[in-house]
């Protein structure tokens, strides 16, 4: 179904503004953003808070609409898919999402197994009897034990919850998995385990990833290509290695310099940030 000519995801000129207060100018969150994701490819979105990366992720997942621009997944326009239940489910099977907050993104009333079987039954991917078997398979894929299937979210650690969230997303067998700061709330060792898990999942299936993170080291680890966002617009894009090793745009350089490390000085970062803002306002006027 997927010809080499057209990528799996094609976003063209996405634009989204939010009306924050009556009378005030709308805040532009996403400004003319275009990108593609090939089947099996991992695309990173980096940028500071408010750069629009989460909004792009939510537009792709269908939680937010774009004011203008087009978004196609597997050749189907996400904006013109109908309203009924069948269309909703079809859309869901294209794109699934893992959220930042492992504590709030699972339904606290449901056990791990119920969370997974509900998702599978909804999509008719497991007929009643073997839904439990399907859930067990999913848990194995995300390295959770069968005994953990009967636990509720509050009995699990942050990393375990995020594994459940990933399993829930995979239950629907999506073509694209959106990860919105999915490892940002986890401590470093748990982060490494989840990243390894994502790597395994990518090797097993040709799933595409949209990986949103403010953590450049993690993005370097996971993604093939990266978009650098500033103020809702793409300022640089390319192969992740190239962009992070040889940044071309001053904002990318600033972002890399902002990462704490040996000889790192917060005052220096703040000063460079101010100088960058100044140069931008000079350029625009």
């Amino acid at each position: 179904m997927n010809t080499s000519a057209t990528p799996l995801v094609v976003a063209d000129g996405l634009h989204r503004a939010f009306h924050v207060a009556r009378g005030a100018d709308p805040v532009v969150a996403v400004d003319d953003v275009s990108f593609t994701i090939e089947a099996g490819e991992a695309l990173g979105l980096v940028g500071e808070s408010g750069s629009g990366k989460s909004t792009i992720a939510r537009i792709l997942a269908g939680l937010e609409r774009a004011d203008s621009g087009s978004l196609r997944v597997a050749g189907i326009d996400r904006r013109t898919v109908g309203h009924g239940a069948a269309a909703r489910l079809a859309r869901a099977r294209q794109v699934q999402m893992v959220f930042q907050d492992p504590y709030g993104s699972l339904d606290r009333r449901l056990t791990v197994e119920q969370t997974l079987t509900h998702a599978m039954r909804l999509h008719g991917l497991a007929g009643g009897r073997d839904a439990k078997g399907g859930a067990a398979e999913l848990l194995e894929r995300v390295r959770l034990s069968a005994t953990q299937a009967r636990l509720k979210p509050y009995q699990l650690s942050g990393g375990q919850r995020q594994r459940v969230a990933i399993a829930r997303a995979l239950a629907v067998e999506p073509a694209v998995l959106v990860l919105d700061e999915a490892v940002s709330a986890l401590d470093v060792s748990v982060q490494a385990q989840i990243l390894e898990l994502l790597d395994e999942i990518r090797r097993e299936s040709r799933i595409s990833l949209l990986f949103v993170s403010h953590d450049l080291a993690v993005v370097d680890e996971v993604t093939d290509r990266v978009l650098v966002l500033f103020g809702g617009a793409v300022v640089e894009e390319g192969r992740t290695q190239d962009v992070l090793r040889k940044p071309a745009h001053p904002y990318t350089r600033l972002l890399i310099a902002s990462v704490p490390g040996p000889g790192w000085d917060p005052h220096d970062v703040i000063a460079r940030r101010a100088a960058f803002e100044l140069s931008r306002s000079d350029a625009s006027t």
Binding site: L63, A85, G104, S105, H123
Partner: protein
């Protein structure tokens, strides 16, 4: 420092811990007995509650009449026992009606905002500015007096209050990412609300609704006392108080005190249970 925290925790457990709360469990036990009395009322009552005995008007408590008799010589204990039914079923029905209406309106207002939210806000403003009883008397004036009208009128008066409370809880519940996760899965809005969000809100709502039950019981008793609710020869407790008050000037306090104490005891017990439930659920969430 450490011991201080520990002391506080121990003290807290003493107040709201599951085992050490005699007041809560006494109230639960008392209400349980009251419900049993209501169920088995006809078997427990020594006399027909409507049997008039002119030979025993306003008799003092005795072996024949443990709580005495009223102005028509009717046995007060039997009237109290049979009255339990109407006095409990009324507020129960009123609460069920008001809850279905209020929770629906509240969650719809929280979900879609806009005009339903504005309308709800205006209605509750009017209800809060307007004495509740006046509204109820107005409804009764239009639809005629009687126990059923009183229940419907009070249900209509309580629905906006419940709606407002539900809305405030629903707003924070809908902001949790698990709701977004269901949307990404392709679950429809109505299903998310009824199947997942409402059950998740139940702990927060439960204590509040239990307290409202006590208020409803008192409200219905008040209406019966005023002659708008239950009609003679019913032995609804509010009506019993009203019928008994003729005896007060003659020094016969029993016919008013017996149902009065019953109302007070049930309302206090219900309030204790409701407040404690709200505390526990709040601590758990």
């Amino acid at each position: 420092m450490t011991t201080n925290t520990a002391d506080v925790l121990i003290a807290r457990k003493g107040i709201s811990g599951r085992r050490r709360d005699p007041l809560f469990w006494t109230s639960v036990g008392f209400l349980g007995v009251v419900v049993l009395v209501a169920i088995f009322a006809p078997f427990l009552a020594p006399y027909d509650p409507e049997a008039i005995d002119f030979a025993a008007i306003w008799s003092q408590p005795s072996a024949a009449h443990p709580l005495g008799t009223d102005q028509l010589g009717r046995d007060l204990l039997s009237r109290l026992i049979l009255g339990t039914r109407e006095s409990l079923i009324g507020p129960f029905l009123l609460l069920v009606g008001a809850t279905i209406l209020g929770v629906t309106i509240g969650i719809v207002a929280a979900w879609n905002g806009r005009w339903i939210d504005v309308l709800l806000a205006r209605i509750t403003d009017v209800m809060f500015a307007f004495p509740g009883l006046l509204f109820v008397v107005l409804v009764i004036a239009v639809f005629g007096e009687g126990a059923a009208t009183a229940v419907v009128a009070l249900a209509l008066a309580y629905a906006p209050v419940i709606a407002k409370f539900t809305r405030s809880i629903a707003l924070s519940e809908l902001a949790r990412p698990y709701v977004d996760a269901y949307r990404v899965q392709g679950v429809g809005g109505a299903t998310i609300a009824t199947r997942y969000v409402v059950p998740n809100m139940t702990p927060a709502l439960l204590g509040y609704l239990v307290v409202l039950f006590g208020e409803g019981l008192m409200g219905l008793a008040t209406l019966s006392y005023l002659g708008f609710g239950a009609q003679p020869p019913s032995s609804e407790w509010g009506l019993m108080v009203q019928e008994g008050q003729d005896g007060i000037v003659l020094g016969h306090f029993g016919p008013t005190l017996v149902p009065g104490i019953a109302i007070a005891a049930v309302v206090v017990a219900v309030n204790i249970v409701g407040v404690r439930l709200a505390e526990r659920m709040g601590a758990r969430a």
